[in-house]
Symmetry: C2
Subunit: 286 residues, 2 copies
Amino acid sequence: MKKLKRSERLVDMTHYLLKHPHQLISLSFFSERYQAAKSSISEDLTIVKEIFASEGIGYLLTIAGASGGVKYIPMAGEEESVQLVEDLCRMLENKERLLPGGYLYMMDILGSPQWMNHVGRLFASVFAKQEIDAVLTVATKGITLAYAVASHLHVPVSIVRRDHRVTEGSMVSINYVSGSTKRIQTMSLARRSLQEGSRVLIVDDFMKAGGTARGMINLLKEFQAEVVGIGVLVEAEDVEERLVDDYVSIARLEEVNEKEKRVQAGPGNVLHQLKEVSYDEKRSYE
Amino acid sequence: MKKLKRSERLVDMTHYLLKHPHQLISLSFFSERYQAAKSSISEDLTIVKEIFASEGIGYLLTIAGASGGVKYIPMAGEEESVQLVEDLCRMLENKERLLPGGYLYMMDILGSPQWMNHVGRLFASVFAKQEIDAVLTVATKGITLAYAVASHLHVPVSIVRRDHRVTEGSMVSINYVSGSTKRIQTMSLARRSLQEGSRVLIVDDFMKAGGTARGMINLLKEFQAEVVGIGVLVEAEDVEERLVDDYVSIARLEEVNEKEKRVQAGPGNVLHQLKEVSYDEKRSYE
């Protein structure tokens, strides 16, 4: 790369950092890339860091020492997140979403990269410190959200299937009981799609009784994997007994009245969870 | 937002543009956001534009006039794209991918946000001028790629299913003949997941005889939609008669020999297609 001025470096550096979340980038890398002294690079990074923090883009962590550098951690701002949750609730309350059986049509939200990118970033913020190795979801509707979360965490996505395809090699299958219909179902995960012992974040679009999530947790045991968190876009409220209790939700359905064509949604617990994640550099981040 | 210096504006502006591909942003927006004169904003954008162009980030199109502004068009550089295609081919040639029946395991690539982000950007570059309204794919394996393409084009993803779910409302179904197995199958798309008359880009992970793509084309007719392009990650070569002939592929399988455990892959036609897309501002972009 040709030698750049500060203003030019900042454009390229911002792009580079945004494209490499959760990855340690050494000062030497930038110093060589821009043919600039490390002291200049440090000054650049201070500017980037301040703007990333003040505009709710994320944290730029500085890791000192010989193996040090900087790491961009996507971190949604509080104000923006409150707005996102609020907007999602209003979207969900549109009675046009109501389908026979009290289901809600959500593919417009799940199929929107803009929505998924925002929600994915919010989940990645909440789980930023969990040292996640992979995001797991179940086909089909959770995939876009899982991908969006994974891309902000810089980890792969693994997809559990309810059918069995010849194009995935040997698969591990389990039976599970759907929490709401009480029917026995099967789910499978390709053996090679997840490393044994991985730290896994489960992501799905919807949780009712939690049978599917429970199934995924059991499936993960077959991979000696550890579940470090569960994130769902929408949770149903009218659940007698939930099969999992530790999860993060963006929105919560408070009422779905098919007859009177009324849907009421409120915030899930994500805003509370977000508050607990804070990057105080003095307490240091590894 | 508080008043920022140029260096600070450039960081925020770069972030803002990258998050809003294919969207027209007026100079007034930036001028108000940063409390800066339009002339200063113009100078900022000139710096961003040059770096975006020289580093293969994309084009920053300037649209003059009262309703004008700037638009960031993700555009993969040629050198980077040649490397991407080359890397993908080498990945595919790993004989560990070979599955019984001559299938190739590809979920590691399809589940990697990094790979999908690169490939998605490349497809978005090739189809940048097509005024696409939606990306269509078929569940399950094409979804991550379709999402990645859609997010660079700033359009929604619609997902065709081979089963029928109660959570998607009324669906339009068609029967189609799988090109390679010659069996009759069904595919469905939720009525409300695609606006009638949309201009659609079809994206899938793999194309053999093209039966699935042909099916999607027929399904789109039911929505009075227009197919403006087809993008596949990998195409098989040993196909007697392909059911679709106008498509863009990243890689092409040249040989899959299950017995001798050998896979050979070469570049698809994407690099050729990429060369045909050029943004010459004098010829203007609408």
